[in-house]
Amino acid sequence: MSAIPLALYVAAFIAYAWHFARRDAPAGRAATTVLVAAALVHTFVIGMQTMEVGHIPVASTTSAISSFVWLLALSYLYIEMTTDERAMGVFILPLLAALQAIPALHPGVEDRSGVLRSPLFGIHVSSLLFAYASFAVACVIGITYVLLFKEIKAKQLGFFYARLPSLQVLDAMNQRAIVIGWIFLTIGMIVGAVWAARAQGYAPGDPRVQAMSLQDPKIFVALVCWAVYSFELFAARRIGWGGRRAAYLSALGFAIVLLNFVPISYFLTKSHNF
């Protein structure tokens, strides 16, 4: 069932790429339309899964990825509508399509174990997914910032110069996305810690609950991630690390997020393999 949103994301990517390369206005409108359709279908899919299992499907890694893709699509659409800027789509859509391929090809079993029946768990997962979506947006904006920066610096005004918004706008958007992401990351981690502490009380025998410590790769890498973004925010405000350095940091931060989100969740963690 996740294959239909995947197909639509791929179609939207093609339209965004066409729009970006040829600067074709109808292609841009078509791209947005297809992406809106993809988000709607995806909403429907997630809604159906919710009805089926009785809660929002975020407990298994696979369904969490699907929800993340959905959130990222909505976040991107929000940015596109508020800034009236379609150039970023060509960078976001490959990420959406690639990640959506996982639930489309390997539909995971959404089976919520007893440990997870706590409202804190819902807050934990949804705020982290939202943080990750913001970081993805920041990363993409950062990449486009660097591309444009290099063109202007090298005095080779060409492809990106003609297509991207100004450096100032990109920098401001990047900062905003990082701030939002950082806030949700912080909330998500605190709530997770509180919930893990409580779980020690009511499910002490569960090996996953026992593994919830800083030695667990998933938790450790999440902290690294928090450190990177905290530093970026501090550096941008205190030591003038705006612009290109901030852009590189947001790319680094999101690389860590992806690492934590996909390979570590599937293969390494002992605490988060639900």
């Binding site: 444009l148 202007i152 610096k153 918004p165 705006g242």
Partner: protein, 449 residues
């Protein structure tokens, strides 16, 4: 009916003559009214810019009208014909349409693809429409030209990229800072170049301009000349640079006034806010190495000229696509124009049938007079419907014909078969009986060159 263009442009006439042939001084509306008052043209629009003066008319006789329009150009501006005539070009029919479409697209401009011309063409048409000198043909022609201009701008890169150094600088500044209105611009040097650039920045919406010069009096004078700018003494240069976003250097100094170390020092308290330095001085005012500093964007006059050259080259590479659009639109317009040639025949045919119908009704009046009024009305209605039905197919067939020769052949056949000789008239503003022409002898009247 023919389309005709007579005019001069930067390609055929020197600027001294173009200045003399400007129509704006006496008003486009008044000029175009005088033009149609001469009687040689049925419809007229005058396109007048600093690079061209062109008369677009719809007329019956190409050669005579061409001569009359040439005379109009010199007489209206009180110039001897010998001064004007050698520079005048004329284009008949679809060549005139193609010319206008190329003009509207910016293909005929001095600076390829410049956008102002489309507005000027629109203005020309509005003036003529207000003066009631633009009729169905020129209305259609000009609306098509607006469509061409719009298509070329959105579908090709003909108008993209700055093509003057000052616009290149402004467009770079916009790409770095976005909106410029809240940005601080510092101009170093109070000479003519500095003043010009500061004026340009101001016209682009920059509100905060500071002039720094070695002589405070010069700075103050320049600041006053620009209006709304501040002057700062040379000793406060670092302070001004620290608060600036865009720095324009235009001094006559023999050696660089901003070294890399100097810029580095200025950048630190700015916390790496981007700084865009435009060095338009010759010899250069800023050490090139300053451009290596993170968040410093340094462009000198050569760099700006290089981007202008690139933009011009890119525009040139779009010409083929733009010409393709012009070609398509000329084709469309031609189809419409040829279909219009059938209009007089259609009108004549309808008038002929209507005349017969009325004559017959009159002839039978004595028989119909016995009928009650409602029944007579029915008879009138029925006969009218019969005529309409009979003419429906021939009318439609005539209107879809697109090639001129076929239309002429059909028209001639119809006029012979039905004896349509003098009933046809062509609608146009101010049609009067002396201007009535039969559409069927057009092969004699207007050989297109």
């Amino acid at each position: 009916m023919h389309l005709l263009l007579v005019g001069i442009s930067h390609k055929t006439a020197p600027v001294e003559l173009r200045e003399r042939l400007d129509f704006h001084a006496r008003g486009l509306g008044e000029s175009v009214r005088q033009l149609t008052g001469r009687g040689s043209a049925r419809e007229a629009v005058i396109v007048s810019t600093c690079n061209r003066a062109e008369l677009y008319v719809a007329c019956d006789e190409i050669d005579a009208t061409r001569d009359d329009l040439t005379r109009f150009l010199s007489e209206f501006h009180a110039l001897p014909a010998s001064r004007v005539t050698p520079h005048v070009y004329g284009q008949p029919d679809l060549d005139a349409a193609r010319h206008l479409f190329r003009v509207a697209a910016g293909l005929d401009s001095l600076v390829m693809g410049e956008p102002q011309i489309l507005g000027q063409v629109k203005q020309a048409h509005t003036a003529a429409a207000d003066a009631h000198t633009a009729g169905p043909i020129l209305n259609r022609l000009f609306h098509s030209s607006f469509a061409v201009g719009k298509r070329v701008r959105t579908e090709t890169g003909l108008g993209s990229g700055a093509v003057s150094v000052s616009y290149a600088a402004v467009s770079l500044a916009r790409k770095i800072f976005g909106d410029l209105s809240g940005r601080n611009v510092v101009v170093i040097g109070a000479g003519e170049m500095g003043k010009l650039t500061a004026r340009h920045m101001k016209s682009q919406g920059v509100r905060y301009i500071t002039i720094v010069s070695r002589t405070m009096a010069n700075a103050a004078r320049t600041a006053e000349a620009i209006g709304g700018a501040r002057a700062t003494p040379w000793e406060d240069l670092d302070g001004a640079l620290g608060a600036s976003d865009i720095v324009i250097t235009a001094t006559g100094a023999a050696s660089p006034i901003l070294t890399r170390a100097h810029v580095d020092r200025v950048m630190r308290p700015r916390r790496n806010r981007p700084l865009f330095i435009i060095d338009i001085a010759m010899p250069r005012d800023v050490e090139p190495a300053a451009g290596e500093i993170e968040q410093v964007f340094l462009y000198n006059i050569d760099d700006l000229q290089a981007t202008v050259r690139e933009n011009l080259a890119r525009r040139a590479s779009e010409v083929t696509r733009a010409e393709g659009i012009v070609g398509q639109e000329v084709e469309k317009f031609g189809t419409w124009l040829r279909a219009r040639e059938a209009v007089p025949t259609v009108v004549a045919l309808r008038e002929h049938f209507e005349t017969i119908r009325r004559a017959e009704l009159e002839r039978l009046d004595f028989k119909l007079s016995a009928l009650p009024p409602e029944a007579r009305a029915r008879v009138d209605e029925i006969t009218h419907l019969i005529v309409e039905k009979l003419l429906l197919t021939p009318t439609e067939q005539l209107k879809v014909l697109s090639d001129g020769e076929t239309i002429t052949a059909y028209s001639e056949a119809l006029s012979r078969l039905f004896g349509l000789t003098d009933a046809a008239s062509q609608e146009s503003p101010g049609t009067d009986s002396s201007r009535r022409v039969t559409p069927f002898n057009r092969s004699k009247s207007g050989p297109s060159r």
